[in-house]
């Protein structure tokens, strides 16, 4: 009896999990499918799921109309650049908070996180004006800076939780062994925290890659990344669902592939410390 009930229970849970998974995945699947339809089929009612005339025409048009690789390259530079600079700043910061905490450390961490709760649009005008005055509008440098600042609290928090797991005695041993602070961080702390740093990096690249608010508002043509590339197809002069879908597919494909290959790291990163 117990066995039967646990099997049916397992079945229920499995079906439920699949339903949730498919619900989450469906919009992505629909976008990919639509990108292979003609514009007419894309708005057909009722929509056809698989039985339509598969075509690559949308991709050809999209690539002809706008240079995909320029946007792609901007996305890569902005997401990787902001993550690397963010890490360089966050590693020492997280080190200090994890290993030489002061009574205010908790408060500082909460304060950093609270900046993520602020609606970005609230600071759009000041940042826009600062960027205009510093000639950073529509530059990759500007976007790298803004992405780095926006994700810094998350990078610091994630690294802080990883560093917390490293026994302090090992760092003290390094100090006794004659390591200066720089060597302690380079030779002992960082190698031990590599898995954590890797998943922090991955998550941040993904966050920066997907970020649309700042990239849309602070770029025009030169520094525009893939988010702006997608947006440029949702134009008011007519709905081109199929082309919009093709552009979206091209924009999410790289990050989807990256995410697929590093899902183990990501899951470990997001649940690290939750269970020992």
């Amino acid at each position: 009896m117990a066995r039967a009930s646990s099997t049916s229970r397992k079945l229920t849970v499995t079906v439920f999990a699949w339903l949730v998974g498919l619900t989450l995945f469906f919009p992505v699947l629909w976008t990919v499918l639509t990108s292979f339809k003609t514009e007419a089929e894309a708005i057909a009612d009722p929509p056809s799921l698989l039985f339509f005339n598969w075509t690559l025409e949308n991709y050809v048009v999209v690539q002809e109309r706008s240079n995909y690789f320029r946007y792609f390259w901007n996305s890569v530079l902005i997401s990787v650049g902001s993550t690397v600079i963010g890490l360089i700043i966050a590693v020492p910061a997280a080190w200090a908070m994890a290993f030489v905490p002061s009574p205010r450390t908790r408060g500082i961490l909460m304060w950093m996180l609270s900046t993520k709760m602020l609606p970005p649009v609230g600071v759009l005008i000041p940042i826009y004006l600062i960027f205009r005055d510093m000639n950073l509008l529509d530059t990759r440098t500007g976007l790298i800076i803004v992405m780095m600042l926006i994700n810094l609290p998350i990078i610091v928090w994630m690294l802080y939780t990883y560093f917390k797991e490293i026994p302090g005695e090992i760092l003290e041993a390094a100090r006794m062994d004659g390591a200066q602070l720089r060597n302690e961080i380079i030779h002992v702390l960082t190698p031990m925290a590599i898995p954590g740093i890797a998943s922090t990096m991955l998550l941040n690249v993904i966050l920066a890659w997907n970020e649309a608010f700042w990239t849309l508002n602070l770029t025009a043509a030169k520094a525009a990344p893939l988010t702006a590339f997608i947006a440029s197809y949702s134009s008011p002069e007519g709905l081109f669902y199929a082309k919009l879908s093709a552009a979206s597919t091209m924009a999410i494909a790289p990050i989807l592939i990256l995410g697929w290959f590093s899902q183990k790291q990501l899951v470990r990163g997001l649940t690290f410390g939750a269970v020992k």
């Binding site: 026994p167 005695e169 090992i170 006794m176 062994d177 390591a179 190698p191």
Partner: protein
């Protein structure tokens, strides 16, 4: 050389003073054990000497040179931690070589010293393994190897054996003592285990609440404890204490008598008691005896045939009675 002098050092964490002004001199080549109950400040004291904690006031001198403000690396001391604190991402070889690499020694010299240390500590077969692949005892030896390659002025051990099982602990105890014989370098060893203290030390420092209760050789502490705390802490099983009229007979507020200094008889003796618990180990017999002064522990050599409820007579060795005054200080 490794003469360490602590001059009026204190340590406070915020408002709480964990070490009131303290003076101590550790001579070159000595094996000194800091012993005391948990929270007595023995580890803090070691960390102050190491430089891992800053002293609040006072001065530390190593070989006569002021070391109070030197960072740990500049003090020329090596430390072995309770958790071993090995670098998990490095092989045994790299772990041992790390301090030498930090000191920027030439590679050939590093290799030679690492090979030497590995040989001395029987680590050669594991030299390319990671700490995670080693047993507790092997890890402990790697930690010691990492300490000895630096040829430090003194070794600091922070409860290094407490993570090992009983049998291995006895072996490692002997190995560390032997290492001290070989190197004759100053060693400071922190433990809460008084057996470790008694077996290894040249000099024991008994601490309680950050205060040095007594400094002396193991037998000195055993034979002449300065106060009730030391008398009760050193020796296993614990010394029996008697207060009241029986103590007054000896002209003291409290008298103490060790379990091994009570003669046990079934026929006659000075004190009468009833056996509570008997532990028969073959080589010794430990009896808990309920007497008119309270429960007393007795140790007899060999087997003593006494069971629960038997009446036994105890006679203290008069030369071995310790006398203490009202403040708990020993009366000589």
């Amino acid at each position: 050389m490794g003469r360490i002098t602590l001059d009026q050092i204190t340590k406070s964490f915020g408002e709480a003073q964990v070490i009131p002004p303290l003076d101590l001199t550790i001579e070159d080549g000595e094996f000194v054990v800091f012993v005391g109950p948990s929270g007595c400040g023995k580890s803090t004291l070691l960390r102050l000497i190491a430089g891992l904690e800053d002293v609040t006031s006072g001065e530390i001198r190593i070989d006569g040179k002021p070391a109070t403000d030197l960072p740990p690396a500049k003090r020329g001391l090596a430390m072995v931690f309770q958790s071993y604190a090995l670098y998990p991402h490095m092989s045994v070889r790299k772990n041992i070589a790390f301090p030498l690499k930090m000191a920027k020694l030439p590679q050939e010299e590093i290799n030679r010293k690492v090979e030497n240390a590995a040989q001395v500590l029987n680590l050669s077969p594991y030299i390319d393994k990671r700490p995670g692949q080693l047993s507790g005892g092997q890890r402990q030896r790697v930690a010691i190897g990492r300490a000895i390659v630096r040829e430090p002025a003194a070794f600091l051990f922070d409860e290094p054996l407490s993570n090992l099982d009983a049998a291995l602990r006895v072996n490692m105890r002997a190995e560390i003592s032997e290492l001290h014989q070989q190197l004759s370098t100053t060693m400071i060893y922190v433990t809460h285990d008084q057996v470790e203290a008694m077996t290894m030390a040249d000099k024991i420092v008994v601490l309680q609440a950050g205060v040095i209760e007594q400094v002396g050789s193991p037998l000195d502490l055993y034979n002449h404890p300065r106060n009730l705390f030391v008398a009760g802490f050193i020796g296993s099983p614990k010394m029996n204490f008697i207060t009241g009229p029986e103590a007054a007979k000896h002209g003291a507020h409290t008298i103490g008598i060790r379990p091994e200094h009570l003669r046990t008889s079934k026929e006659s003796g000075e004190w009468t008691g009833r056996v509570g618990l008997g532990e028969h180990l073959g080589s010794d017999t430990f009896l808990r005896v309920e007497t008119e002064f309270g429960e007393m522990t007795v140790r007899t050599i060999g087997d003593f045939d006494a069971r629960h409820g038997d009446t036994v007579y105890l006679t203290p060795d008069p030369a071995r009675i310790h006398r203490f005054d009202e403040s708990g200080l020993s009366i000589r």
